[in-house]
C-alpha cells in the first residue's frame, strides 16, 4: 500500500485570517441577497408588514390603549360604540376596545403559525427525506402510503374532525392543524430527496462509506433548504387562515381571549343590526397578516429560485 508522500505542511495557516475571509464572504452573500430581494417593492412591503405585526404582537401590552380588555371585562355603558373618538375601531357588545383586541389577536395567530410549523416541518421533512432516500423499498411504501391517507382527506375537514374530537382550545386547534399539515412537507421533500439521492455527490459519500444519517442530514438536507424555507414562508399565511377558521367555528381560541376568527364569529351576529365594525375590522386584520406573510413568502421564493439557477 502506497503511503502518500508527505509534503511539508505550511507552518502558519493563519486561522484568524481564514475566518475573516469566511465572514467577509458571508457578508457579501447577504448583501447580494438583500439587493435582489429589495428589487421587488411588494416583497419589501410584505417584510415591513410582517415586522410591524410581530412588533405589535410582542409589545401589545404597551402599544394598545386598553390592554385589560383582553381579560374578563365588561363596560356596558360603552358597548357597541362605533369607530372614532376614544375607541378608534369601536367597541364590541361588552364594551371592549376592538383595536386592543385585534393587536392581542395577532399574538394568537403568530403563535399558531410558529408552533404548527415548528412541529410540522421537522416531522414532515424527516419522513419525506427518509422515504425519498429509500425510494422503492418497504420504508418508502409505509411512510408514503400513510402520507397519502392523510392527503386524501380534504384538509379542512380533517382539521375540523380532529378539533371537534378534542376539547376546543388553542392548543388542540394547533394539534389539529399540525396533523393535517405534515403530509404536505413529506410530499414536497420526498420528491426532492428521491431526485437528490441519484446525484453523484451522494453516490460518492456512499462509496466512501459514510453512514446513512450523514448522507441524509449533511449531504441531502442542505440541498433542500431553499424550497423548504420558501414553502414555510408561504405557509405562515395559510396556517393563520386555517387557525382563524377553526376559531371562527368555535374550535380554537376561546372567549375572553381575543382570537381574530372568534372576533369575526361573535361580531357577525351584529352585522344585521348595523354594528359592522365588530366583524369587519378583525376580518381585515386577518387579511393584513396573511397578505404580509404571502408577499414576503413570494419575495423569498423568487430569491431562492433565482439563487438555484
Amino acid at each position: 500500500m502506497a503511503e502518500i508522500a508527505v509534503s511539508p505542511v505550511p507552518e502558519v495557516i493563519d486561522a484568524a485570517a481564514l475566518a475573516r475571509i469566511q465572514r467577509q464572504n458571508r457578508r457579501e452573500n447577504l448583501g447580494r441577497m438583500w439587493f435582489k430581494f429589495s428589487r421587488n417593492p411588494l416583497s419589501v412591503i410584505g417584510l415591513l408588514m410582517v415586522i410591524a405585526i410581530i412588533l405589535l404582537a410582542i409589545f401589545a401590552e404597551f402599544v394598545t390603549p386598553f390592554p385589560d380588555h383582553v381579560r374578563p371585562f365588561t363596560d356596558f355603558v360603552n358597548a357597541k360604540k362605533p369607530p372614532g373618538g376614544e375607541y378608534l375601531l369601536g367597541t364590541d357588545q361588552f364594551g371592549r376596545d376592538i383595536l386592543s383586541r385585534i393587536v392581542f389577536g395577532f399574538r394568537f395567530s403568530l403563535l399558531m403559525a410558529v408552533v404548527v410549523l415548528t412541529l410540522v416541518v421537522p416531522v414532515g421533512v424527516t419522513l419525506g427525506m427518509v422515504a425519498g432516500y429509500f425510494q422503492g423499498t418497504i420504508i418508502d411504501t409505509i411512510i408514503m402510503r400513510i402520507t397519502d391517507i392523510f392527503l386524501s382527506v380534504p384538509p379542512l375537514i380533517l382539521a375540523l374532525a380532529i378539533a371537534s374530537v378534542l376539547t376546543p382550545n388553542l392548543t388542540n386547534s394547533m394539534v389539529a392543524v399540525s396533523l393535517m399539515w405534515w403530509p404536505w412537507y413529506a410530499r414536497l421533500v420526498y420528491g426532492l430527496s428521491s431526485a437528490l439521492r441519484t446525484e453523484y455527490f451522494v453516490s460518492s459519500a456512499e462509496t466512501i462509506g459514510a453512514r446513512t444519517p450523514h448522507i441524509l442530514f449533511r449531504e441531502i438536507l442542505p440541498n433542500m433548504i431553499s424550497p423548504i424555507f420558501t414553502k414555510m414562508s408561504l405557509d405562515v399565511g395559510w396556517v393563520i387562515i386555517i387557525g382563524s377558521m377553526l376559531s371562527f367555528l368555535g374550535l380554537g381560541v376561546q372567549e375572553p381571549q381575543p382570537g381574530l376568527g372568534t372576533m369575526v364569529a361573535k361580531g357577525s351576529d351584529y352585522l344585521p343590526t348595523g354594528q359592522w365594525w365588530m366583524a369587519i375590522f378583525p376580518a381585515l386584520a386577518i387579511v393584513v397578516v396573511v397578505l404580509g406573510f404571502n408577499l414576503l413568502g413570494d419575495g423569498l421564493r423568487d430569491l431562492f429560485s433565482a439563487e438555484e439557477v
Binding site: 500500500m1 505550511p10 466512501i208 449531504e219 442542505p222
Partner: protein, 336 residues
C-alpha cells in the same frame, strides 16, 4: 495467480430490468449493460477502457465501486472478492478503491465547503489523524492553495473542482483509482493540466488507474493497456502501443480510422481507412451471434449465429486478446 494483478474481473454481467412485457408471464425486458466481461488490471498500470456511449464502460466502474451489485460474475481486488459481503463492503476494502466521477459539478456537494468535502473520507478512514493537517497536505499534493478549503464548489472553476474530486479520492490512500471520463466535462485547456496532475500523482503515490474514456487521443497518451468495449462486451484488449498501431478487431480498426487527423504524421499512424457503417444497435435488443455483425465489414455467415470467444493472438508478440471469429479460425479453434 500472478500477484501483479490488482483487479481481476471475470465474466461480469449486469442486466438492468427496464420494464416488463406480456400480460400474464410478465417477462422482464432487460438491458444487458455489461454482458460477460473479463479483464485483469495490473499493479501500477493505467488500464484504459474505451467505447461508445452506452457500451457499458461506466457500469463496470460503478459495479467495481459497489454502487450496483453484478448480475453474475466476480471482481476480485488483491484476490479478495469485492462482493463477498453483499453490498456492505468492509471499510478496509472501500478505502483501497476510489473513483473520480465525470462531472465535478455534480460529484461535489454544492452546499459543502471543500474542507467538509475532504473531511468526510478522512473522518471515516483515518480518524486518528489530524484532519486539518491532512486536508492541507491533500490540497498541497494536488497543487491547490490551502485557502481553498473554505470555498464552496461553485466558487471554483471546472478544472479546480475536478482536482478537488481527485484529492477526495486520494484522501483514503487508495491503491486503485477509477477515473470515469475525468476530463470530458472540462475545457481542452484544462484537460492537459488535469491529465498531467494524474500522471504525476500516479508516479508519486504508486497508483493503479482504471481509466475510462471515449477520447482516443487521451487514451493514447495515458494508457499502458487498452480494452475496447462494444455493447457491453470487450472486443479487444492489447498493450496501448499495439492497440493503436496494429488493431486486430474490425471494430477497433473502424473506430481508429474514424479519428479525424490534421497532419500527415497523424495520417501515417492511422490504420487503413475503413468506412464506418450503420448505427450502434439498441442494448435492449442485441443482435444474435457476434453483436458487431450488423456493422462489420468482414462479416461471415456464422458471425450472425455464434458468439465468438475471447482468444489470445500472437501478431504483436505480447498479450493481445480479440473476440472475433476471424482469429478463432486462425488459431484453429472452434467455438461452441
Amino acid at each position: 495467480m500472478s500477484d501483479d494483478i490488482i483487479l481481476r474481473v471475470e465474466n461480469l454481467r449486469k442486466h438492468f430490468i427496464v420494464g416488463r412485457k406480456g400480460l400474464i408471464k410478465r417477462e422482464p425486458i432487460t438491458v444487458k449493460a455489461v454482458d460477460g466481461v473479463s479483464f485483469n488490471v495490473r499493479r501500477g498500470e493505467t488500464f484504459g477502457i474505451v467505447g461508445e456511449s452506452g457500451s457499458g464502460k461506466s457500469t463496470i466502474a460503478y459495479i467495481t465501486m459497489g454502487m450496483y451489485l453484478p448480475t453474475s460474475g466476480t471482481i476480485t481486488f488483491n484476490d479478495r472478492d469485492l462482493f463477498g459481503h453483499g453490498d456492505r463492503r468492509p471499510l478496509d476494502l472501500r478505502k483501497e478503491v476510489q473513483i473520480v466521477f465525470q462531472d465535478p459539478g455534480s460529484s461535489l456537494n454544492p452546499r459543502r465547503t471543500i474542507r467538509q468535502i475532504l473531511e468526510l473520507p478522512l473522518s471515516i478512514h483515518q480518524p486518528e489523524k489530524d484532519r486539518l493537517t491532512e486536508i492541507i497536505r491533500l490540497l498541497e499534493l494536488v497543487d491547490l492553495p490551502p485557502e481553498f478549503m473554505h470555498k464552496y464548489p461553485r466558487q471554483l472553476s471546472g478544472g479546480e473542482r475536478q482536482i478537488v474530486a481527485i484529492a477526495r479520492a486520494l484522501a483514503t490512500n487508495p491503491s486503485l483509482v477509477i477515473l470515469d471520463e475525468p476530463t470530458s466535462a472540462l475545457d481542452v485547456s484544462v484537460q492537459g493540466k488535469v491529465l498531467n496532475l494524474l500522471i504525476r500523482l500516479q508516479r508519486e503515490l504508486n497508483l493503479t488507474y482504471m481509466f475510462i474514456t471515449h477520447d482516443l487521443s487521451v487514451m493514447r497518451n495515458l494508457a499502458s493497456r487498452v480494452a475496447i468495449m462494444y455493447l457491453g462486451r470487450v472486443a479487444e484488449v492489447a498493450e496501448a502501443v499495439h492497440f493503436f498501431e496494429s488493431p486486430q478487431h474490425p471494430y477497433t480498426q473502424m473506430l481508429l480510422s474514424s479519428i479525424p487527423v490534421l497532419t500527415e504524421a497523424e495520417e501515417a499512424l492511422r490504420p487503413a481507412q475503413i468506412r464506418s457503417t450503420g448505427e450502434i444497435p439498441s442494448p435492449v435488443d442485441l443482435p444474435s451471434g457476434c453483436s458487431f455483425h450488423t456493422r462489420c465489414p468482414q462479416v461471415m455467415d456464422h458471425c450472425r449465429h455464434i458468439d465468438p470467444l475471447m482468444v489470445p493472438i500472437d501478431v504483436t508478440g505480447s498479450d493481445h486478446i480479440v473476440r472475433c471469429h476471424l482469429f478463432e479460425q486462425a488459431n484453429g479453434q472452434v467455438s461452441s
